[in-house]
């Protein structure tokens, strides 16, 4: 037994220490910091000024910050409907008995392994380009001049462009998770329902969907987590100065921390940056509880 104790200590300690140092301690400290006014991120503790919930109040009073949350919620709800909906559709198609299933799913998942910077560059510099871009040439070729002339990267369209290109890349991931759930549903249920005369479409709505509630919960939670960390795509769509149409809380936090090109709109303040982190964390926690309270899956045997 003593040998086991040595092993447990030797195996658990290094990773636990790293985990505490890089997760536990910083999380607690961030919550603590969010109640202080801290000018420079490197300021020592003695120069911090306690100001209660003022950081939260002044953030909520800032129009640009509120815009960043509206954008995030738009990404969460609109993007969520698009991503989870389309990925479910794709999974259903793959499950319906098409040939070359492995090939289709591999290609659809592929964007997930590519660097987001490279992916976004392909979209911004090629697909959305207004002179030689894919959408421009495609709509021109089929004679839809009005669609061909859409300026995808103009302030009006930028958010749509951002949302479409971001969702396109993530759909493959959610599709695979849906598919893994579908594959766990017993073929007997489908057989029984088709003997009872259910069509493929009816089977999808009355058999597959109800049995996928657990997967739906997983996907929705993962979607909330990935939305809370939304950063790179927004940065790439407006690389120098944050645009009101694409700004998200993480971008705003980055500017709070290190200053921005448009310095007049955002003043540097590490305490407020910490408060933004806490608010994003609360967003994830709230979504987690909402998802778990509203979707019940415990009564279903798979």
């Amino acid at each position: 037994m003593k040998r086991n104790k040595t092993m447990i200590a030797a195996f658990a300690l290094p990773a636990s220490i790293l985990f505490v140092a890089i997760f536990v301690y910083p999380v607690i400290r961030t919550v603590f910091m969010s109640f202080f006014s801290i000018q420079e991120i490197t300021d020592s503790f003695s120069s911090w000024v306690f100001n209660g919930i003022d950081n939260y109040k002044s953030l909520m009073g800032n129009a640009l910050y509120r815009t960043s949350w509206i954008n995030l919620l738009k990404i969460f709800f609109l993007g969520g409907v698009i991503t989870l909906g389309v990925s479910l559709l794709m999974a259903a198609i793959l499950k319906s008995g098409v040939k070359l299933k492995g090939f289709w799913q591999a290609v659809i998942y592929m964007p997930n392994i590519i660097s987001a910077v490279a992916m976004a560059t392909m979209w911004i510099q090629y697909v959305f380009n207004s002179t030689y871009g894919f959408l421009h040439n495609f709509f021109k070729a089929i004679g839809l001049e009005s669609l061909a002339n859409i300026q995808w990267l103009s302030p009006d369209m930028k958010f749509t462009a951002l949302l479409v290109s971001y969702c396109f890349g993530t759909i493959g991931h959610y599709m695979l998770i849906w598919l893994s759930g579908m594959e766990r549903i017993s073929p007997d249920i489908y057989e029984a329902s088709s003997i009872d005369g259910a069509s493929k479409v009816q089977q999808f709505f009355y058999v597959t969907m109800p049995l996928l509630r657990g997967i739906f919960k997983t996907n929705l939670t993962m979607w909330a987590i990935s939305c809370s960390g939304f950063f790179i795509w927004s940065k790439l769509f407006s690389p120098i100065t944050a645009d009101t149409s694409t700004i998200v809380p993480m971008i705003y936090m980055y500017e709070k921390l290190f200053g921005a090109a448009n310095t007049d709109s955002v003043t540097r303040d590490a305490g407020s940056a910490a408060a933004i982190g806490v608010m994003l964390c609360i967003f994830v926690v709230v979504m987690f509880f909402v998802v778990n309270k509203t979707i019940k899956d415990d009564d279903i045997e798979m």
Binding site: A12, A21, T30, I41, M90, I114
Partner: protein
């Protein structure tokens, strides 16, 4: 014979019914291929041809020098080497740290083990911004970003540290499925449990170890946010950050064909991994999630 024929006929009709599905898949996949094909074309073309929309004419031949210009002139070789070093070292450390960690967490109960398990699960939902502010504060105040070597160590430590929860959670079911009989037999033969783990249990979780390493490698290769904050000099930039700075410089240099060549260089390693190892990637995703 006759039976086989009729089932084939049914199959044909069945496939015909799936036509709308095929149409959706084909459209989606064609779009992906058109974009990739165009970027490959643009990377071998000239900036002039890109803007004239005549990249596939190759009127002046294939411009492989775009790649050498990007590789050397735009420092992509430096970024590439950095990312490779960061990814390889981090992935190795993650396995060395997390494999034994995951193993003791599934096999033994010890003071704090339940708390650690809960903590790891909770950490996978914590936005990265919740941890970086205090870490930046401590690291910058200690002056660790001023020296190249310490800056590299900081980066690798952060890549490893932030991936500990994911890697450990991922590996747990793989170690759980290894039968305890092996360790018991080893212990009867007088083998120390530490040795029994590395020599007997560790190799048996091979599938999980390979899969999680592939995911970690791809994630660290593509990593952007931590590098943006913690990389203090151009010489230490990984590919994603290097590519981003190139894009920002593009309005001054105007070298679009070079940009697309750089995109291809950044894209190539993870793409090659995917071509050869997609079985692990797709298997790891579809097998690892509980409904």
């Amino acid at each position: 014979m006759a039976k086989k024929k009729s089932s084939q006929g049914l199959n044909m009709r069945g496939q015909l019914k799936l036509a709308p599905g095929y149409l959706v898949l084909a459209t989606w996949v064609s779009f992906t291929f058109v974009v990739l094909f165009w970027v490959v074309g643009a990377s071998l073309s000239t900036t002039g041809d890109i803007f004239r929309g005549t990249i596939f004419d190759f009127s002046t031949g294939l411009h492989f020098e775009n790649y050498s210009r990007a590789w050397i002139g735009s420092n992509v070789s430096v970024y590439f080497a950095n990312s490779l070093v960061y990814a390889v070292i981090s992935c190795t450390l993650l396995i060395v740290l997390c494999a034994p960690f995951a193993y003791v967490l599934v096999r033994h109960r010890f003071p704090g083990s339940t708390l650690l398990k809960t903590g790891l699960a909770a950490a996978s939902g914590v936005p990265i911004i919740m941890v970086i502010i205090p870490l930046y504060m401590i690291i910058a105040r200690a002056g660790l970003l001023k020296d190249e070597m310490t800056n590299r160590i900081v980066l690798i430590t952060l890549f490893v540290g932030t991936k500990v929860p994911y890697t450990t959670i991922f590996l747990q079911p793989y170690f759980d499925s290894v039968s305890r009989a092996y360790e018991e037999a080893a212990s009867i033969d007088g083998c120390h449990p530490i040795r029994a783990f590395w020599q007997i249990v560790f190799p048996m979780a091979q599938g999980g170890l390979i899969t999680v390493t592939i995911f970690n490698f791809i994630n660290i290769w593509n990593e952007y946010f931590l590098s943006l904050l913690f990389v203090n000099s151009e010489k230490l930039r990984p590919v994603a950050l290097g590519l981003f700075s190139m894009i920002n410089g593009m309005q001054f240099s105007g070298d679009w064909s070079g940009l697309f060549a750089s995109v291809m260089i950044v894209f190539a390693p993870t793409f090659l991994i995917y071509i050869f190892l997609s079985k692990y990637i797709i298997g790891g995703l579809t097998g690892g999630v509980k409904g």
